[in-house]
């Protein structure tokens, strides 16, 4: 089922250069889509357009069979959540508890149900022991997990991650990734759009969209994209480690037949 359909999306901040230039794709229920590309390729702008923080051109975004316009905005936002890059600048409440409650208050969830919901979703991101902590006493990874809990508590169908791990240390990155994996396992119908620089993450998702200067240069499953090295040259995006390794090996005249995993490649090299 198609949850979001984007059709010929165009956006410009200054009415001269199109930051997003004719982008079309769709988000199906339960899919994990990665959007990669350099800074300035229009990735984050697309995220803001999808959630209606920037105004898209008419009839370009359709979500849950509704046009994305001022009238439907509220209804659409109830079903799409977003986690931004900077952990500090999306922590609204003065404690973890208050921050998760913030979205619930906006949703007009009755007071007596809030504590249960907060506890449930704090537990899902492993933050139950930190409910009364202030943001200044939390690490970046913990704050991002609180942001995820706040969004999960609103029970969305689609979650957008806008470079949500790029400001975190390796430990924080790992924690956030584990939380994402867990929530996918618990709710297989949840769709994820992840805007990322992390190639290992991008190429483990269901679908990769490669952006360059506001245009989509490739939109396919990871295997197919990796078979077209032209895409990487054109967009300047790096290859994942394994593929870089394979390319260098074949340049040195070493051909590997079974390139399923790093272990297999090593086995073949040592044969």
């Amino acid at each position: 089922m198609k949850l979001i359909e984007v059709n010929n999306l165009v956006f410009s901040y200054d009415k001269k250069i199109n930051v997003v230039d004719g982008v079309s794709f769709s988000v199906e229920s339960g899919k994990y889509i990665s959007i990669i590309g350099h800074n300035g390729s229009g990735k984050s702008t697309i995220a803001k357009l999808l959630i209606g923080l920037l105004e898209a051109n008419k009839d370009s975004i359709k979500a849950f069979d509704m046009e994305l316009n001022a009238k439907n905005l509220r209804a659409i936002r109830q079903r799409v959540g977003i986690v931004f890059q900077n952990p500090d600048n999306q922590f609204v409440g003065s404690t973890v508890r208050d921050d998760i409650a913030f979205g619930l208050e906006n949703r007009q969830i009755p007071h007596d149900q809030m504590d249960d919901i907060i506890n449930k979703f704090a537990a899902k991101v492993n933050m139950l022991d930190f409910l009364d902590k202030e943001p200044e006493n939390l690490s970046g990874g913990q704050k991002q997990r609180v942001a995820i809990a706040g969004i999960l508590a609103m029970n969305p169908d689609v979650i957008i991650f806008d470079e949500a791990t790029s400001m975190l240390d390796p430990k924080g990155k790992r924690e956030v990734r584990e939380s994402i994996e867990l929530m996918r396992k618990e709710n297989p119908n949840l769709s994820i759009i992840s805007i990322t620089h992390d190639l290992e993450e991008a190429f483990s998702s269901d679908e990769v969209i490669v952006l360059q200067k506001g245009k989509i240069v490739a939109d396919d499953n990871p295997e197919n994209i990796l078979e077209k090295p032209g895409i990487f040259v054109e967009s300047g995006v790096d290859l994942p480690f394994k593929n870089k390794f394979l390319n260098l090996l074949s340049q040195a005249g070493i051909e590997i037949k079974n390139d399923e995993s790093l272990e297999r490649i090593v086995e073949e090299l040592c044969r």
Partner: protein, 282 residues
């Protein structure tokens, strides 16, 4: 002439309930001309450590020697610290937030002017440094607030390079940059290092240590766990220091385990590894 820490302790907010011991008995040496990486996870004291290098923080106990300057609690002479800051340039995390002047060239010239360089001379130095970091000439008169994030970062770095420091200290200079921006400035630091600048580089990214470092210091909970060369560090299981194993090292380990006789000392990048494999297979 090098950096020497002798039993350095540093405590924040001493004698208050918020007391926090950030450095505990740190002794280390950073050699001239080295590319030293300091690794360890958040809160291990890395950032506190580098602030001792140009006297932003003075050790609570112990002493630090930097290029002939002796920093100790008792001998706190401000005039001397001012001179020290010209020799040790520190680029902080998210350094783009230090930009404030009307034009990019003026912002880069700000540092040298503070150290008594005449304005025209400082602007000249600024132009050179902007060229070094790859900012085109057409930008010099632009406002630093109308350029992209990656460019801002480079202008901020140029602002420190303009002090012409002998030691360059960098706190996570690649955080939040895209892969292309990261590679660009890493290569820049490598080049500066070749020209003789000592680089002290604080990072979470173990791959940077693998590819760029000549020396490495591992920290944990305010203590130096290990001071060594990268080859020795990666010969051990780095996960015991809660660091990740770089993917190249993982591959090397797998190959070694399978009995391939690689000369590890020659491997600093993926290209080196492939060359080694080709050599061994012949």
């Amino acid at each position: 002439m090098s950096i020497n820490f002798k039993n350095v302790f540093y405590t924040y907010s001493e004698k208050t309930p918020f007391r926090h011991e950030a450095l505990k008995d740190v002794s280390l040496t950073i050699n001239d001309g080295s590319f030293t990486c300091i690794v360890g996870h958040t809160g291990c004291g890395k950032s506190t450590l580098i602030q001792q290098l140009n006297g932003l923080l003075i050790p609570t106990l112990g002493s630090v020697d930097v290029n002939g300057y002796h920093i100790e609690k008792k001998s706190k002479s401000l005039k001397k610290l001012h001179d020290l800051r010209k020799e040790v340039g520190v680029v902080f995390q998210f350094s783009e937030y230090q930009l404030f002047e009307e034009t990019i060239e003026e912002d880069v010239a700000f540092g040298p002017i503070n150290f008594g360089v005449k304005k025209e001379e400082a602007i000249k130095i600024a132009h050179e440094c902007l060229e070094t970091v790859g900012i085109p000439e057409s930008y010099y008169k632009k406002s630093p607030f109308e350029i992209s994030g990656g460019e801002k970062r480079r202008v901020a770095i140029a602002g420190i390079l303009a002090l012409q420091p002998k030691i360059l200290v960098l706190d996570e200079p690649t955080a939040g940059l895209d892969p292309r921006g990261t590679k660009y400035i890493l290569d820049l630091f490598k080049e500066l290092n070749k020209q003789g600048t000592t680089i002290v580089f604080v990072t979470h990214d173990i791959n940077i240590v693998y590819e760029y470092a000549t020396d490495v210091i591992v920290m944990n909970e305010g203590k130096v766990v290990m001071q060594t060369v990268p080859e020795k560090l990666f010969a051990e299981d780095v996960e015991q220091y809660s660091l990740e194993t770089p993917l190249i090292q993982k591959t090397v380990n797998l190959l070694l385990a399978k009995g391939m006789k690689l000369d590890v000392s020659k491997i600093h990048s993926l290209e080196d590894l492939v060359k080694e494999i080709a050599r061994v297979r012949k």
